[in-house]
Amino acid sequence: MLDFATPPDHPVLSPMTLCIRHGDRICLLGPSGTGKTTLLNRLAGLETGQPRPALRIGYLFQEHRLLPWRTLHDNLRLVGVRSDQVSSLLAQVGLDGYGEHFPDQLSLGMARRAALARCLAVRPELLLLDEPFASLDPHRAAELQALIRELLDRTPRMAMICVTHEVRDAAALANRVWYLTGRPARLEHDEAVDDHPDAVAGLARRLEALGRGAAADAALAGGAPV
């Protein structure tokens, strides 16, 4: 669906070629500051000089990035939702009846769900989630995770890339794991994840090994250890 390559002289990302297929559920893990958000921005065509991407993208940023001076209704209208579809879209993310609220009247979790509704409004072929569970209490995080899983089940052809720190999130959402590490950041792959506790522990061990390997490589190459 999307073949993607980073340019050779990128300051943060080392040259890499990625292939994203329809229905891929990818979790992108790695230490903070390695360029996970940079990679998402690159995929979304947001870096300077990048052309507009050829496919429809929904991007859930770390902050909600709704227009604070427009109501949820108007925010959704601006990305092309018809007026009579706004309330059903809000209902999908559990915000039924909040159309006339301004984003800053909502809690963090609600604003994030409103932003998720905006992602879905564009019927994305590729959904980018940047730390969707950050700063939420465990209960809200679990709720949002269930909501995202439900949305993924309903749109089997949509590809998703989700940045997270939690191996458990990766296990719950993904069927592929990318691990970004080093400086400039390199990408390690891992396949096939499922939600079983043993599998999660196994994935955590494999990721740790990937991290160690990458750090050792970096040290050998004279780069700073990660």
Partner: protein
Amino acid sequence: MKASPLAYWVVLPLLVVFWWLMAWQLDTSLLPSPLAVLHTLQHEAASGELQRHLAITLQRVAISFTLAMALGALVGIAMGRLPLVNALLDPLLVLLLNLPALVLIILLYVWFGLVEAAAILAVVINKIPNVAVTLREGARSLDPRLEQMARVYAFSPGQRLLHVWVPQLFPYLMAATRGGLALIWKIVLVVELLGRSDGVGFQLHLAFQVFDVAGLLAYSLAFIAIVQLIELVILQPLERRASRWRRSGAQHA
């Protein structure tokens, strides 16, 4: 912070009382009493002269304000967003900011004659740099995160301007408007005094020639009242409406 309205109700009457006492003590036509000024005001209004000159001056203020805001905002935003434009225009901006308004007015009258276009142009050129500086600041403070959002969701240029930029620039536009009105109407009076044969500035000129202080104060007060009315009736309601989302507060936090 905005001063409490109570202060106005205390300080302004005190000022009037002080003025009245002074006028009464000095007993000279060079400082007429408030009542005498009011009388002149009434007389001018009855003859229709006051309205005529106020209307002409207001029209000049409106035209030059609109032009200065539009051009100044355009230049300022371009300078804030495009480093090349900023590099090219910045020296010009510094020059114009430091050029006395009077010099510009005289030059334009000398070059183009005592015509309406020269008068308006002088006011506009005087005001553009202030608007541009304010809006340049605003354009620089535009949130890059919302720019990214607008790009991902493919906002049209019009949508970006209306829904992403204007709300962020609104406080700067208001600041430029306030400063603009205050500055422009003063410059308009000077322009009228130097080279027009109607308007409040021209009337002040006549009053000056015969030392008619009552007429001077009458016209000034009438114009100050109108500028305050613009603030109360147009600017403040506009600001309240536009900052609705800000005051709504976090209900579910």
